[in-house]
């Protein structure tokens, strides 16, 4: 092709793109019905010199942290780079269970509702989008957040003290989710009197399934198709995801394909093995549901550097799976004195809440920490306080055993201390407690 032809082709392509943008979208993208014709151009059809309209500044390179080799866990959200309360969709943490996310064509996807209902129903995505919808801002947090990475790295001296907010706490993210209340779909299907639980199931190869109490489902569970104003991202469940606000992350079934209404918990593999806490008496505590209140200072935080003494706004995130954050306190002297931080509006139920606290660094060593309280009055504990609740000492011996065994420190929500050194380096000070 000579350069003239190439230019002409480019001109035609750009013209088409502009026409599409201007006309606001008559054409129906492949795989979508007429109602959702969006005028969006596939990435591959965008001319090269238009691509920068989609891109972040090349100076901004925040990314999720990928799981390390041999680790089937999550890729974590860089909390320390976030502002406000919304997690950009491409930075939302991903718990992959060691599998690739499925690549689902929305036109072929179906949601089946059956079991103890008067009328089993199958919905297409288009039908779901015609139903009355809601948009709500909610967080999702993995049950092992704040614990697993410590357990895995506690014996690696090169990482000691050097963990970031993302490394330790990055398995939480907060989005605006849009979809249909599951209560509405169940009313359409007509729930039978003897029903008391549902089993929700994903379409991925391992068909992740969880039992969820029916009263929670009827309260605030959403069958979501959108995240932060666009379709849900593929690793977060495209095209459908069950949002179970405040419950352990693994209740939020991705790639949702089936809801079975039942009369008891169905004891799925995930119900009885992954998400179960083992007590010292050998009893397993199952169906733990809601994540407890937690807060973390994200700036300044691990591996950041304060260039000089002077003013810094301390800021961070607080949240509770059981309700709304009522109070966040900050200490800059290792927990001797606590003062109320300012909560940024809107303060929403089961959502990340941004807090701010003015601070002048005098150049000396300082330990910064935050502690939150939710509207049930539950307060985020210190390491020692949580140790009392669990009946353990979080000493070196504990972490050694934890790293050697299947201990899962779930719902681990202790206060996170960050140490600012005289040089302005910020370190994870949790290790000081047991080293």
């Amino acid at each position: 092709m000579n350069s003239k032809q190439s230019d002409r082709r480019r001109f035609l392509k750009e013209g088409a793109v502009l026409a599409g943008l201007a006309a606001g979208a008559i054409r129906s993208a492949s795989g979508q019905g007429p109602m959702s014709a969006s005028g969006r151009t596939p990435e591959s059809e965008i001319p090269e010199n238009f691509r920068f309209f989609n891109e972040r500044s090349r100076f901004e390179n925040s990314v999720r942290k990928l799981p390390s080799a041999g680790e089937s866990g999550a890729s974590k959200c860089p909390l320390q780079d976030l502002h406000g309360i919304i997690t950009p969709s491409d930075l939302h943490f991903v718990a992959a269970y060691g599998m690739n996310p499925p690549d689902i064509a929305p036109r072929e996807h179906r949601l089946l509702i059956h079991g103890l209902v008067h009328r089993p129903l199958i919905f297409t995505l288009e039908e779901l989008k015609r139903l009355p919808s809601v948009s709500r801002i909610h967080l999702i947090e993995c049950v092992t957040n704040s614990y697993m990475f410590r357990k895995r790295t506690v014996h690696l001296p090169e990482l000691r003290n050097r963990l970031t907010a993302r490394d330790i706490h990055g398995n939480t993210s907060c989005s605006e989710w849009t979809g249909v209340p599951l209560s509405l779909l169940l009313q359409e299907a007509g729930v039978k009197n003897e029903a008391s639980w549902i089993v929700a199931e994903g379409a991925e190869p391992v068909k992740h399934a969880r039992s969820i109490p029916l009263n929670k489902v009827m309260d605030d569970v959403i069958v979501a198709y959108a995240q932060n104003g666009e379709a849900i991202r593929r690793p977060n469940g495209y095209p459908l995801k069950l949002l179970v606000p405040g419950f352990e992350g693994a209740f939020n079934i991705k790639w949702l394909r089936r809801i079975k209404v039942v009369d008891q918990p169905y004891l799925t593999n995930v119900d009885v093995s992954h998400k179960v806490n083992l007590r010292p008496d050998g009893k397993m505590r199952w169906y733990n549901f809601e994540m407890p209140p937690k807060s973390v200072i994200t700036r300044p935080s691990g591996e950041q550097r304060l260039p000089s003494r002077g003013f810094y706004e301390i800021t961070g995130l607080a949240w509770s799976g059981g309700g709304t954050i009522r109070r966040v306190e900050v200490s800059t002297d290792g927990g001797r004195n606590w003062k109320d931080a300012q909560l940024q509006e809107p303060v929403l139920r089961i959502a990340h809440t941004r807090f701010r606290f003015p601070w002048n660094w005098d150049g000396g060593e300082a330990v910064l920490q935050s502690r939150c309280t939710d509207d049930r009055g539950v307060v985020q504990p210190t390491l020692a306080e949580l140790g009392k609740i669990w009946g353990v000492n979080f000493d070196w011996e504990y972490w050694k055993i934890a790293s050697e065994t299947g201990y899962n420190g779930e719902h681990f929500n202790v206060i996170q201390p960050w140490k600012v050194t005289r040089e302005g380096t910020v370190l994870d000070a949790m290790y000081d407690a047991w080293l």
């Binding site: 399934a209 039942v262 050697e404």
Partner: protein
């Protein structure tokens, strides 16, 4: 609305509301979605409850399961299910009596409450196929099973029987089917609290590992 006209009579709106709620069980409001055919539901419904009502026809024993395990499972779970295969998947066998020690070993034998979970999970998720794995962090293992060979109901019964046999829960010749499988008593059947899990809005439950 009727209820508005009888605003002083408290019973009327309550009764009207009750009638509305009852009516919702009877009719659809939006008339969207279609009724699935019976066989569609059967094909999709892979949930096996603790009573095993959904278990399909078929049967299998540990003896029949052994060659299957060697062929399809050992590459990750090790030749005897103890988790030493190159794929590095979890241990399936042993650990009974260790849950109260400092080094608990959680396997299906030592910790799962019912045998139907074994059938459900093997059928729903196993084997994990080569093409579904992100090899950025999952080791590449030769001879990992491929999508072309899903397990039949008989094979799932046989593998379930093998795992229960290796965990000393049934005998090598015991035949599992829709009737016998739900009757198996797992060692940790009573090891879960609370006995009847419930959720109550706004309730601050004790959380953590050792509440």
């Amino acid at each position: 609305m009727r209820c508005m006209m009888h605003g002083f009579n408290l019973l009327v709106p309550v009764m009207a509301l009750a009638a509305c709620v009852a009516a919702l069980g009877q009719t659809q409001t939006y008339n969207l979605g279609r009724t699935p055919r019976e066989e569609e539901i059967r094909a999709w419904d892979i949930s096996i409850g603790p009573e095993g009502k959904e278990l399909p026809p078929g049967s299998g024993s540990a003896k029949e399961g052994a060659p299957l395990f060697a062929q399809k499972c050992a590459v990750c779970h090790g030749p005897t299910g103890k988790g030493s295969g190159p794929g590095g998947s979890r241990r399936l066998v042993g650990g009974q009596g260790t849950l109260t020690t400092t080094h608990p070993v959680k396997t299906l034998g030592s910790s799962w409450p019912v045998a139907t979970t074994v059938w459900d999970y093997v059928n729903r998720a196993m084997p994990q196929y080569e093409e579904d794995l992100p090899h950025a962090w999952v080791p590449v293992v030769p001879n990992r099973p491929s999508k072309r060979e899903p397990l039949s109901a008989d094979e799932v019964y046989a593998l379930t029987a093998l795992l229960l046999y290796w965990n000393d829960i049934i005998k090598e010749d015991d035949i599992l089917d829709a009737e016998t499988l739900p009757k198996i008593t797992m060692p940790n059947r009573d090891g879960f609290v609370p006995k009847e899990p419930k959720w109550k809005k706004g309730e601050a439950l004790p959380f953590g590992q050792y509440p």
